[in-house]
Amino acid sequence: MNKEVIVLLCEDDEGHTALIKKNLKRSGITNEIKNFTHGQQVLDYLFFKGAGPHRPHDVPHLLLLDIRMPGVDGVEVLRQIKENPELRKMPVIMVSTTTNPKEIERCHLLGCSHYITKPVDSEKFINAIRQLGLFLAVIEVPVIDGEGAA
């Protein structure tokens, strides 16, 4: 993806957030990584709601989304995004510790691009994020047009 793409990281655990950021950078991703701790935050950001920061127009985005979050959980966020005709273009990669096949299936049914399980093992974790980074480096991400998603 080109350097413009903003990587959104929606993860409530700070430790996980920091680890992911670090390892993404180690893998060569230099894009801006915005992180959110609550599902609602990222929704506000994407849908131009609330008082918090909103997304800039005409900028491609990519979302790394944890599932278990307080308040609006990852699945709900995914659903809302994929329901929107514009925002559904945005690649959403679920990153979660849950291995529940039902959950995985649900997310795919809703339209997530990929599902990654966070391994506990540090080596494996680092490796997974690194490979994610390498993967992201080669994919193309579309621009999200339009004002005010609905």
Partner: protein, 672 residues
Amino acid sequence: MTEDSQRGASNFPAEGRFFMTIRLKMLIYFGTTSSLVLVGVILVYLFGIPFLNFQGAISRDQSRTFLNLSLAADLKKELLQRWIKRQSDDASVICQSRLVRELVGRLLFSDIRGPGAGGNGEPGGVSILDHHLQRIKKTYGFYERILIINDSSGAILASAGDVDDGIRPGKRGLFPEIQFHTKDRKIGITKDTATGKFNFFISQVIELNYDPEKYGSAHAILLMESNTGNFIAPLLHDIGDLGKTGEALLVGEGGELLVQLMHPLADGSRAQPLKYHIKAKPAVLAARGEEGIIRTLDYRNEPVLAAYRHLRISNDMGWGLVVKRDEREVFRDINEIIRNLAFMALLGVMTICVLGLFFAEKLSRPIRQLSAAAGELASGNLGTRAEVQADDEAGRLAVVFNSMAAEIQNWRTSLEDQVKSRTQALETANQELEQFVYVASHDLRSPLVNVEGWSKELEMQVKELDALLKPLELPADIRENIREAMEEAFPEAFKFIKSSTSKMNGLITGLLMLARLDRHVLHIAKINVNELISETLKSFEYQIQSLGVKIQVDDLSPCRGDLVQLGQVFSNLIGNAIKYGFPGRPVEIGITGRIEGKTAEYFLKDNGMGIEKQNLPKIFELFHRLRPGETEGEGLGLSIVKKAVNRMGGSIYVESEAGKGTVFKVVLPGVF
């Protein structure tokens, strides 16, 4: 439900076996009883009841006939004997008459002296006697002849027939019946050779003083003959009310026929009186002197009823009299009655059958309906109700059946409802549990990610620090401290952190699997164990190849269980066998099985390191690990295995010898 109804159906014998049985039974009982009663009544009517002295119609007819025959026989006997007596008396009168005696004496004398000696005797004497006899003959009317004969010469001294002829020379042998008269009187039947007719005769010695000097051995015999047709035959042939086949017959002392029979013999010929001897029983008995009634065959070999009497003719001679009647005629009426009765009985039986069918149908219908309703009910249609028709026990049974069916239906409905709600509740609980388990595992894992991740970061930072410190000039003891920290303290700390988080992760995974196991709904089916094991072995292909594991699987019988869980069981056991091999010894695994009663038993034997006696009871415990440091695993495998086996209704046992090997025995429900 399908299983239940199948079981019910197999207890239910084939429809055909019960086909029409109750109707048929009723028909048979009713028909047999009625018919027996009907036939019984008829038989009693015909044959009577012996020990109750109740005479049947047949006996009555017979008795009546015998009575008639006896009366007829007695009457005839009486008449005949009286007649004979009268004849005898007549003869006696003549023989004792003075006139006769005088005249006969002289005639006899002259006859003896020869013809001419004294001339024709005294023609006048003959004449007088002739006339006398003639007068007697005329008077009595029925005598054929009355003669006075010289028994030694045969000369006729006087005769009622030829009058005034003087002494006629008779031939010896002309009157065989008077030959050599030894008795006073003789009575009998004789055949008149001239006419061929049969006559009744009385010959009596005329009372003279038979001086042998005068008369020699000659006697004067009075012979009176009358045709049997005059009296005897008509008497016999008058059968009055003895029906068409009634017959009376007379036999002499030797059984010889005395009077012409009415019917021809069996071969069609006519019996000759005096020549033919009747051999039929009544005649024989009567001639012998016995009297009575009898039912037997007569001279024609026809069955007859007969009464027989003995007539005392003289002191030493008697006749037999038989009065008989053909059975056929006697029983003709009764036979006709029997035929009519038989016909009516047949009609009666047919009517009984029809009625029987009707009654059987009517009575059995409620029962059959009930039976059908019961069958319907048994096959699962719980809404079936029986029709309450009858007003007897069958009706009551139908009512009870209906209420029972309604009860069953209610039970089933309420049971089904209960089951539905329970299942729902279970489903909900299951889902909740599943959610919980996943959530728990996720939430438990999350911090672990941090611990591991950050300790890794720490490790990396320490390495950088080390790299930065290396080129610096530092005092030896400080360098030593740094070295200790970098090479011992830090790595040790990181090692323990890492191993602990790893273990924790494993436990969480295992717990997840155990919880999932608990939840898993069992699908019990017939399992082909050999197939399952070969499938399972596929996933161990790599280890088997690389470690050179030898596996021998026998022909195993199938069992009943859950395919997935049983797969887990074998996977675990085989995995353990491979994992806990004796170091240096190639792993050998043998899987055998057998049927024991209603269960299937499987034996998994390995030649691995075995289990110590004190550990044996603990191996199925949760988290128990044999060699915690040497092998991988969380110690959950066997507890999962045991749980799975128990859930399928089986049990698991273990035998082991440390250093030699282990045998696991899995018992599961068998297939029948």
